[in-house]
Symmetry: D2
Subunit: 402 residues, 4 copies
């Protein structure tokens, strides 16, 4: 259980921190202006492409991807880097080509794709030339239980025919999002976890209708491609577009979720640090009733509790990363659930208090806090609500006494 | 301490419930469509005018205003009616001409205005022909401490000259918002609570710049005129535009806040009831892991706790209304603070759990929950953050033992 | 919904407050000394008998009992009086002959007893000459589900024969506790809620073994007779000792619980007021780091939140009392559950914070706080754990949407 | 940051776990019986001496003490061992001669004592022949602020003369407690943190009055010597009894607190594990309303949250131990405060829920839960209330932005 940062991590941290200070943080106001003035509300502002070029030239590219196609970092090496990107979560992850859902999609193609699939879709994704989407969640069922999924993927000769409705398909409003990975049922009569399959559906396939952008507490998240409602009506793709094998969809989804969850939690830590920093700066600068806010007891409780919680969360995330590296994602299953339960809830509370310390500014567009809050709150639902994970973790704990 | 609903209240409740069922709730989807399609994002959708006409014809008009110019209800009579409007907070309050900030502004003009001021501004407000704004909060200071306010109102001959910057001026983005009540300092050297005055500033006065709409967790609240940042540069109005006397601004603001706070709390109860109803409907209809959500223990805890909290809050709000009616707003000071502390926080939590029970739908635009949440959360800041009220209430409690 | 105190209530409040100030509060240190020095740890210290005589002479006697055998108060009239006794919960309720479990037992005998039963047991209880116990809870089953009860009451000729084990039988360690009301099953094959019956078992009946005193967080509560484990082995009583009818035990238990719960909640409010007063007195008197504790923000939050919660709880308790008076205990079922859910949990938190403000003194025997805390905490379990009540209340709420 | 257990730790863990299973846990009921039957309520039951002999023979002795006089473990090595002893906190720590306050006192003598002091007092303590007490807390002042301490230690020729009143002096009711380390002021006019000194006061010195045992939520903790109120009246000891130098008392107290706090937190983790295990065993075994408690949603939330919290706390404790080992106690100051803030509060909540799952049994003497709870709760006060630590930690955090 060695969590220290090794030499490579330290070197990359230094490089990334410099990039944040010199490019990302200064780009935040530019980004906000371009976003407000954008003709197309669903594409990233142009400053993001500039940041991508700069990051790539600095060797800060595809850090999330283990193995030879990516930067080859372990989870433990990537964790502190991902945390840093969380401090500017709209700019830094896409700048480094480390933004969800592309990261997960690239992992799927890297691990389960055929050579042809990788050539056609993984390469341009790794190059940051196209974006991608992952179409799993459905509006009409509790999708946290994957056996509820209703989208059908039916074999018809050399094709699969897809029918179904999805929503909250992140990134899919972006016209540059060229490829969808779609989860659906190929065999509803099979064993519960063998009914689902995944297929690649190019955006321009007839029958794909990207209907509207879903909101998250008023935000459309247009700068990273929004969250689309997508309807698939008799969409036909060649059987070569199957990822892995028929009936393998559930297993691929599970494999995809582990890294996805820990990346979210790493970035959440950066969001919490950003919020805590903003809170501290605010309360030393602002005065009410004759004393700086920082001299008022409740505020100090908030700051202390935030610091203590962040320290605990970070250690649990690092331990999880270390476990994933040493015993694999399955062996780290309990810890992955634990960080998914603990991190969004705690970070949401930390940001909420930072908002409170900012008064009206806290809920406004002039500080990043309200938007960070919405992101953290939503992660208590994304990839399954907290309650599903707690239920599952408790069941494993109880098994010791059965 | 008699909280029962008297005959007039019962009669009006019946009439209002019918109006809600027959007109307001059916208008909600129309409202959403018109809002999405609006050319001007800052004006109420046309359906609101239809509802206003209908409400007025049914005698559901200006219910908030005591005395002969309004419906003449007591606070205790108005409370259950305001609660009902909270179930559809974007539609019902404006339909009844009972929406903030016009209600508070009409109260100010009713109580402190001159005959000329009432004729020019109160009458069209009572008729629902114009809207108004209340310009108090400033971005650069902790405005919960009114002595911090920096806007200057300087006497110059027969005029007052106003300079300052305000934000979160609700309703002011609406072009129909014709008049601003502006709070500023006429005499910074006077005793702490005698430095401030209020003046009427017509929107079209030279030097008034309505700069931009502030957001609330991503929402611009355009349908009720948004929340504007407004800059006043050498704005000149005749001295007749002073409300009350010079140095009386703080006292008027205090007088305005009491009813404002209780109205907010009443409507919050309706919002909580709406959220609880949506949660219940959802959990009986949706299944996960083989059982309806309603059969799962945590959900039941949420429902029970919501019901118990709503009952307690309603009684405290009713007692406060009764006290305001019997001993006056000053005599009800502690209770007004108590409901301001208790209600938004509890209702926010209730709505949050309803969101959680809805999964992704909960944060979306397809259910009213996320927007209700943002409103409740913001009320933990508006009119002073919770912490300021707790500090003040505790000080009064401690005085018993000094 | 009229909660005001009527003339009789006001008159009795005045009388009771005087009794508290003149006799009960001054008796507290005497009581503590006598308790520490007692030869028999299970009997009330002698000062209690003196207080009883004084209370009776002042007409403060059996206030809990409606109808002609008691003081004839409504629940709404009794509520504020019971609250006052909660400020000194070890002394005031027994002084007024209003202490659990005797109150509930007297109600049962009053409502369901035969003339002979009332003569033999109710009269000396009303006179404060004997004490009584209610033997329902069993160690081996979840007794919150009454159908789990395992104690058998079997008819054998003109007798009932009782076998079973009970615990937490409050008051039963007191040698003056002369009579037990025992709940057991007469017909395990009957319909779920018709299996149970109640019989009167005099303490000196052969086969009754009062085995030991159970503890509550280290307290033995000896001064009010402790909480006994009692074993019944072939205990034989005449059939005349049946209360009500065979199979009527569940219904009697339900009837007994309503008033019992509201009395607990009323007294809890007094306990909360006592804790809040002690906290306030402490924090104005004690200094740390150069300022009185009262000047420190967190303490003020605690005080404000305590005051706001107490106000809400009191109103809900009063409404429940009023409902019980006007629509009966069954009609007030939801509210009775609501106060049982809300009151102990909130009061426990208030006392906990008062403890924290007292430092080591808070957990000691030198202040009543730790013992008050233990009582409040235990009421989250007594008469069914919170979770059972929430489950039931939620089920009723959901029924509206089924 | 390497937290893994090294070979020596693993070896000792194995040995300690065997000792727990074979001796300590089986001794618990014996201990309870002896305690209940004890003639002297303030001495450990005889079974403790048997366990001490067994532990010593197994090489499980003085594990807490670094350096050559103790077992020579690092904090990181000792942490998992101390956690294990926390599972039976009344038996295991004294069995291993690793119980507070002796541990802290031995550390003080080891680090700051003279050769003569060590010979006279440290040696018999290390041998487990005598017990000791640490007399710091005073009833009349907020002792969390050490500058408040009122006990005087005045030089008079070759003696120090001590006058003052202390309370909650743990262990001091035990007649075997032979020596007190007393904190008092030698020079009230010196700089704030140079006023205090520590002296050794043998129990049998004239003027030492051990007045009474203080309670903790009803418990007298007699089995480990209780918590005494001790009055010092003109107590005279030779100047050789000074520990360290005059004015060095505050610094020694600080040095003593670091290890003391981390040991408490380690044991608290074991207490939490014990509570969680008891909760799990209970809920799989007990049925209500037709299903095992374990199948009921809220219980599962409790179990999951407990597991997640314990994992986080353990990592933070381990990191703190590692820091103390690598950068020293001062360098680990923030982390020591962080675990002191986080651990007792979380463990108290975990135990509270385990109590709730046990019904009446949870608050009784038949399960260890209520007593564990009282210990955890009290640790939110001991060594300074949570609020003091939060205030201090926040101040350090804010310093970054000053």
């Amino acid at each position: 259980m060695e969590f220290g940062y090794d030499a490579r991590t330290e070197e990359l941290r230094g490089r990334l921190l410099a990039f944040m200070d010199e490019h990302v943080l200064p780009a935040e106001p530019v980004f906000a202006e371009q976003r407000a003035a954008a003709a197309d509300p669903w594409s990233p502002p142009p400053v993001v492409e500039e940041l991508k070029a700069e990051a790539r030239s600095r060797g800060l590219w595809n850090l999330f991807l283990p193995g030879e196609r990516g930067a080859g970092l372990t989870n433990l090496q990537y964790a502190p880097l991902a945390e840093i990107t969380g401090r500017s979560p709209h700019l830094a992850p896409p700048a480094l080509n480390c933004a969800a859902p592309d990261t997960g999609n690239m992992e799927v193609l890297n691990e389960f794709g055929t050579e042809a699939q990788r050539k056609q879709w993984l390469n341009p994704l790794l190059a940051g030339e196209i974006r991608s989407a992952f179409a799993m969640t459905e509006p009409d069922v509790a999708s946290s239980d994957a056996t509820n999924i209703e989208t059908r993927i039916e074999r018809d000769g050399d094709s699969y025919v897809i029918n179904g409705r999805k929503w909250y398909i992140s990134g899919a409003m972006n016209p540059a999002c060229a490829i969808f990975i779609v989860m659906g049922k190929t065999d509803p009569s099979a064993e519960r976890h063998r009914q689902q399959s995944m297929v690649l559906v190019p955006r321009d396939t007839p029958g794909v209708e990207v209907r509207r952008g879903m909101r998250v507490f008023g935000y459309d998240d247009g700068d990273h491609g929004g969250h689309a409602e997508v309807v698939f009506t008799d969409v036909r793709v060649p059987v070569e577009n199957l990822i892995g094998e028929e009936g393998g969809g559930f297993a691929i989804a599970q494999a995809r979720l582990g890294p996805g969850r820990i990346h979210h939690c790493m970035r959440l830590l950066g969001m919490a640090e950003r919020a805590l920093e903003l809170m501290c700066r605010r309360v030393v600068a602002r005065t009410a009733f004759g004393r700086p806010l920082a001299a008022q007891g409740v505020i100090r409780e908030w700051i202390a509790e935030a610091r203590v919680e962040i320290e605990q969360l970070r250690l649990l995330v690092l331990k999880t990363a270390w476990l994933m590296d040493t015993v694999g994602n399955r062996g780290a299953h309990t810890e992955i659930q634990a960080i998914k339960i603990a991190t969004p809830a705690a970070v949401q509370r930390i940001i909420d208090r930072a908002i409170q310390a900012h008064g009206a500014g806290g809920v406004s567009q002039d500080f990043p806090l309200a938007e960070l809050w919405a992101a953290a709150r939503t992660l208590r639902l994304a990839d399954g609500p907290d309650e599903v994970h707690k239920r599952s973790l408790a069941r494993r704990e109880l098994r010791k006494y059965a």
